[in-house]
């Protein structure tokens, strides 16, 4: 979970990492009148994406008149598609030099890595690509809670060496100590907050000392359960999603508690020449793979007329009601022509899956709601009871379930099931792919 800059700075403040004076966060241009500020003033758009400065989301105002006009502009701005809904007002500090400090986990070794660079204030990924030698890294192999003093000093010293031209050599020792201190604190914040990333960019050298002018912190979602104090301090009551704008379907899935992503834009207009396939796979991995499968089969056998519409993760052991909601969601989605589903019961039960599916279909039939064909297969845990239930229901609700085609067992691989489902649905539409 990403935190907003002002939230990270609150945390930094408790960790005694120096930050510019915070005046407040406003949500409308009018609010500016009620916040006591000094000039020059920094106006920072609060959006959870990088590159705000380049996109014009960060401004400096010298006067109230200028601030007012800038605030209006900012509230009308969209940064990488995200509207600016709030603006942080903070003290503008002088800039005698900028550096970068970051801590994250190396995805290759799974060790913590502390990175510093004297090339601060710019896109650090670009620096990494273009001038990798300007980033100094140290790997912490034992997941220590605090950074060993020696490493902090080494990193600070490396920074000082690179900053040499910009700093007063007489004050070098003092600067190195304060840099080492901040590097240690950034690492400690990362560990203490269960962060995936903790970054200061830029760390500004000012006449009053070093100050973290911008701050980034991504929390580990898996650890939120034990970061209650932190979340409470920040006033965050529920998990925030990193993905910018959620579609209607995504919000509905989120409310029902399962991951779902639309692959088509909201209010998408269907191409009547094409067949749109909704997916209820088992597990996130197959959720991703089944999108590829449908697309590949569409290309290979159906003249590229087949469009997968969603990613879904029915995950380990969904409840029956959640399964029902998965099918309702796709059947309510007017774009979808056909649902492909697969249940490979490992941790999850075929029995719960089929009960959830049938409940959705029977409910819709009774209420006269939109029905679309369902093709799929189920294999694995609890299959015998699932089969018994399916057979019984097919008998009792023959009409409602006439377009539910679930194969029991693995006599056919999923690719064949997908191909057949598409083929049959095309035929029922009178198409000859």
């Amino acid at each position: 979970m990403k935190l907003y800059e002002n939230e990270v700075k609150k945390i930094f403040d408790t960790m005694k990492i120096p930050i510019p004076k915070q005046y407040g966060v406003i949500h409308s241009a009018e609010e500016l009148d009620h916040v006591p500020v000094n000039f020059p003033l920094m106006l920072k758009s609060m959006v959870l994406v990088g590159g705000r400065g380049k996109a014009g989301g960060i401004k400096k105002a010298q006067s109230m008149a200028e601030a007012k006009s800038l605030v209006k502009t900012l509230f009308n701005l969209k940064i990488k598609g995200l509207p600016v809904e709030s603006i942080l007002l903070e003290e503008a500090v002088d800039d005698l030099g900028a550096c970068y400090i970051g801590t994250t986990m190396d995805p290759a070794t799974f060790n913590n890595v502390v990175m510093v660079s004297a090339s601060g204030g710019v896109d650090i990924e670009q620096v990494a690509r273009e001038k990798p030698e300007s980033i100094v890294k140290r790997e912490i192999v034992d997941n220590a809670k605090t950074l060993p003093k020696k490493i902090a000093q080494e990193l600070a010293s490396a920074l000082c060496n690179d900053l040499e031209k910009k700093i007063d050599t007489k004050k070098r020792n003092e600067l190195q100590d304060s840099l080492a201190d901040i590097i240690s604190k950034v690492y400690e914040t990362y560990q203490r907050c269960d962060a995936r990333l903790c970054e200061v960019n830029p760390l500004l050298l000012t006449s009053k000392g070093v100050i973290a002018a911008d701050a980034k912190l991504i929390l580990d979602d898996n650890a939120l359960f034990r970061q209650n104090d932190l979340l409470q301090m920040l006033g965050i009551s529920e998990k925030r999603h990193d993905v910018a704008e959620r579609t209607k379907n995504e919000l509905r899935a989120q409310a029902a508690g399962f991951p779902y992503i639309d692959l088509l834009p909201e209010n998408f207009i269907k191409d009547p020449q094409k067949l749109y396939v909704g997916l209820v796979p088992g597990g996130a991995g197959y959720g991703i793979f089944s999108i590829d499968e449908v697309a590949t089969i569409g290309k290979r056998f159906f003249n590229d007329h087949i469009i997968p519409v969603n990613f879904m993760d029915s995950g380990g052991g969904p409840t029956q009601n959640r399964v029902t909601e998965m099918f309702h969601l796709l059947m309510d989605y007017p774009v979808v022509d056909l649902i492909i589903t697969s249940r490979f019961g490992g941790i999850s039960s075929c029995d719960i899956f089929i009960r959830g599916l049938i409940k959705a279909v029977v409910e819709r039939h009774e209420k006269g709601l939109r029905m679309i064909p369902i093709y799929g297969r189920m294999v694995g845990t609890d299959l015998p009871s699932a089969r018994t239930f399916l057979e019984k229901e097919k008998h009792e609700h023959a009409d409602a379930l006439k377009d539910v085609h679930i194969i029991i067992g693995n006599q056919r691989i999923m690719a064949d099931v997908i191909r057949e489902g598409i083929q049959k649905t095309c035929e029922s539409k009178g198409w000859k792919p």
């Binding site: 986990m105 799974f110 990924e125 192999v141 580990d220 991995g285 590949t296 993760d313 697969s342 490992g346």
Partner: protein, 712 residues
């Protein structure tokens, strides 16, 4: 179907590399022992599925649950350390703990030097995972996961995890499997199944199927596992299934280029996520594609692997074709046959519900307690030893017998609460009053592994005292000397004699032992089990069972004693032969609509306890007219009623009690007394091996204990 011996499979190969000492044990025993750590819903459920698949689960680990049993038969320990003291050969542990406690549990297992650890738990914080990885590196553990569906070794029939049992080994003959095949290593569980499925559909076997786990940091990555699988001689080809996010695939490609000698066999990759939109999180923590990253995208992975010479697929069809090409169309088994076998698995009827008891196997004319025939126990073992057997499953050694005797004697010495035995009150009801009111019993500790048996023995000592209080014989318990056998105490309590008649004392003990248990179905056992399922205190649950012993259940002995006494008296008084007197009394009973007790049993036509008690009564010189009558009564009944009903144990005990000149009510008292030992066994078994407040279907119980054996 014959499986591949464990010491030829890949799991053994992995263990051998890490712990040659364990490998030797596996070669000696032919078994790879595993432990299940974390016994919540998932752990328990999958323990059963793993066991059904063929995995040997030696122990369960759950803090606070030490001394209980998993799946009714597998011992559970509080910590892995305690477990390894008893079972030092455990080579594999699967961990099912909740994400909030998984770290400590996993590190404990790693530090105990278990060579293969499969971390199933999902949602573990990254910081905790890093601590786990630090420990695993230090101990050179092969750590799979976290957030893994587990590993499965089809040729050996071993699984650690929650993978469904769909993977198919090589078939070397219609009756036997071989160890050869393709190894599949995947980041996603469901993709594993679909790849396995695809390969099996063209007759390609799998010798190991490994889910590495979907988290951002995991124990073993592709780079660790692919060379390991390739070094194992029976692997013909390796398939890795990667997906967008993370950099495992890129690192694998880098390693292939750097160390080509570690990759001597064909390798094929399947990468998912070609059509995934950038910047959206798709389930797995690892599958985040952040724009601008140089790794983690479909293209970066495909490019890296292809440049290392690994063909990259993106569909089931292409994967099948590529694997077939690399294996030159080789097949490992007949596909028709495979589907037929799979179909029998899918079409198998739902498993009959059932639950297990290890205490008594009840068969017609045969009762086995922990495998020992009850009649042999009656003949050769005392009451306390039998009670010990009922609770612990084994007889105590000599030293323990003495320890138990002391506990019982101490218990019998202490005064009991004041309870009135009302006139005509059923003795079972009076005993219930004692159980409920006795604070000595309530406060006697029952914790620890030996606590259950000690509490039972203490209770039996107390019961002797209750009986003496009911019978007004407490004086006879006044001067117990230090070495008093417990059977003497029972004798004193029952008869009120301070001087012990050794023969009578032995006879009484034998009758009590004959009544100790009859499985889980008698109403008294049911009552105790239901109370135990609610975790009622021991003495309350036993009281429930004792309270259920009434005239209808367990009271026949007293009635039989009265009947036999009446018959003998009539024959004396009227000077007619006993058979004649008995016939007349039976006719009278029938006219009055009274039951004739002591005859007939719902299961036994020749009660296994009958002959041993008859013999005992002859050997001790106790057998007299009543016992003699008891041997004829079945025949006499047939003459009166025209149908044959065998004498049951109550009838035999009734006759012996009558011959000993005891109060007929003692026949019932002996039954209750003996049964308290059995009820204790059932109580502690229920508490140790079953979930709380379960619905108990008594007819579904299955004996899962020791097979028949003889007392040595």
């Amino acid at each position: 179907m014959k499986l591949v011996p464990p010491d030829q499979g890949m799991l053994y190969y992995i263990i051998e590399n890490k712990r040659p000492d364990l490998a030797k044990k596996i070669r000696d025993t032919g078994i790879i022992e595993t432990a299940v750590v974390g016994l919540g819903g998932q752990g328990t459920r999958h323990a059963e599925l793993m066991q059904q698949y063929g995995t040997t689960i030696t122990a369960g680990i759950a803090p606070g649950r030490g001394g209980t049993r998993l799946l009714e038969t597998i011992p559970v320990y509080d910590t892995i350390k305690e477990c390894l003291k008893e079972h030092p050969s455990i080579a594999v542990a699967s961990i099912w703990r909740h994400y909030s406690t998984a770290k400590d549990a996993t590190i404990e297992v790693i530090e105990a030097d278990i060579p293969v650890v499969v971390l199933i738990s999902e949602g573990i914080p990254l910081k905790d995972i890093r601590d786990i990885l630090v420990a695993a590196r230090k101990h050179k553990t092969v750590l799979i996961g976290g957030n893994t569906p587990g590993v499965i070794f089809p040729p050996e029939g071993i699984k650690a995890g929650m993978l469904p049992d769909v993977f198919y080994p090589e078939e070397v003959s219609p009756e036997a499997f071989g160890p050869k095949g393709v190894t599949i290593i995947s980041r996603s569980g469901a993709i594993l199944y679909h790849l396995s499925d695809a390969l099996a559909s063209v007759g390609i076997a799998q010798n190991a199927v490994i889910g590495v786990g979907g988290d951002g940091a995991i124990g073993s990555t592709f780079r660790d596992l692919v060379p390991l699988a390739m070094a194992y001689k029976n692997t013909d080809l390796v398939v890795v299934a990667g997906e967008i996010g993370g950099c495992q695939e890129e690192l694998l490609a880098e390693d292939i280029k750097k160390n080509p000698k570690n990759y001597p066999k064909p390798l094929i990759a399947l990468i998912s996520g070609a059509h995934a939109p950038e910047g959206k999180t798709m389930g797995h923590a690892g599958a985040i594609v952040s724009p601008g990253q140089v790794y983690g995208t479909f293209q970066s992975k495909k490019h890296a692997l292809e440049s290392a010479g690994v063909p990259v697929m993106n569909s089931q069809y292409d994967l099948i074709a590529e694997v077939q090409k690399r294996l030159q169309k080789k097949t490992y088994f007949d596909v028709e046959n495979y589907y037929k076998k799979m179909k029998t698995i899918w079409d198998a009827p739902s498993k009959k519900p059932g639950w297990g008891t290890l205490i008594t196997k009840v068969m017609p004319n045969n009762l086995l307690i922990s495998g020992y025939p009850l009649q042999d126990i009656v003949e050769r073992k005392g009451f306390l030893e039998t009670a010990y057997l009922l609770v612990k499953g084994e007889f105590p050694d000599k030293k323990t017998v003495e320890e138990m005797r002391k506990i019982a004697v101490e218990a019998a010495k202490k005064p009991v609460p004041k309870v009135t035995h009302l006139k005509n009150e059923d003795i079972s009801k009076t005993l219930v009053k004692y159980f409920v009111l006795d604070e000595e019993l309530a406060q006697y500790p029952e914790g620890g592994t030996d606590g259950a048996v000690k509490k039972t023995i203490f209770c039996l000592g107390r019961t002797a005292r209750y009986l003496s209080a009911i019978l007004g014989t407490e004086k006879a318990l006044g001067h117990l000397h230090g070495n008093e056998p417990f059977s003497h105490i029972i004798y004193r309590a029952v008869t009120g004699n301070s001087t012990v008649n050794e023969q009578h004392s032995r006879m009484i003990e034998a009758m009590i032992v004959a009544c100790v248990d009859h499985g889980v179905t008698p109403p008294s056992a049911q009552a105790t089990l239901i109370a135990a399922s609610t975790r009622a205190p021991y003495e309350v649950a036993v009281a429930q069972g004792v309270g259920a012993i009434t005239d209808v259940h367990g009271g026949a002995g007293a009635k039989a004693a009265q009947l036999f006494t009446e018959c003998i008296m009539k024959s004396k008084k009227e000077n007619i032969d006993v058979a004649q007197a008995t016939r007349e009394i039976m006719r009278k009973y029938i006219e009055e609509g009274k039951r004739i007790e002591g005859l007939g049993h719902r299961l036994h036509t020749k009660d296994p306890r009958r002959d041993v008690l008859w013999n005992f009564s002859s050997q001790t010189g106790i057998a007299g007219k009543h016992v003699q009558l008891s041997k004829m009564v079945s025949m006499i009944f047939e003459q009166v009623r025209g149908m044959s009903l065998p004498i049951n144990v109550d009838g035999v005990i009734g006759a012996i009690v009558a011959d000993m000149g005891l109060n007929p009510a003692m026949a019932k008292a002996f039954f209750i007394y003996g049964r308290i030992a059995g009820l204790s066994g059932h109580y502690f078994e229920e508490v140790a091996s079953q979930p709380r407040m379960r619905q108990i279907n008594f007819t579904e119980a299955v004996y899962k204990g020791k097979g028949p054996r003889s007392i040595v």
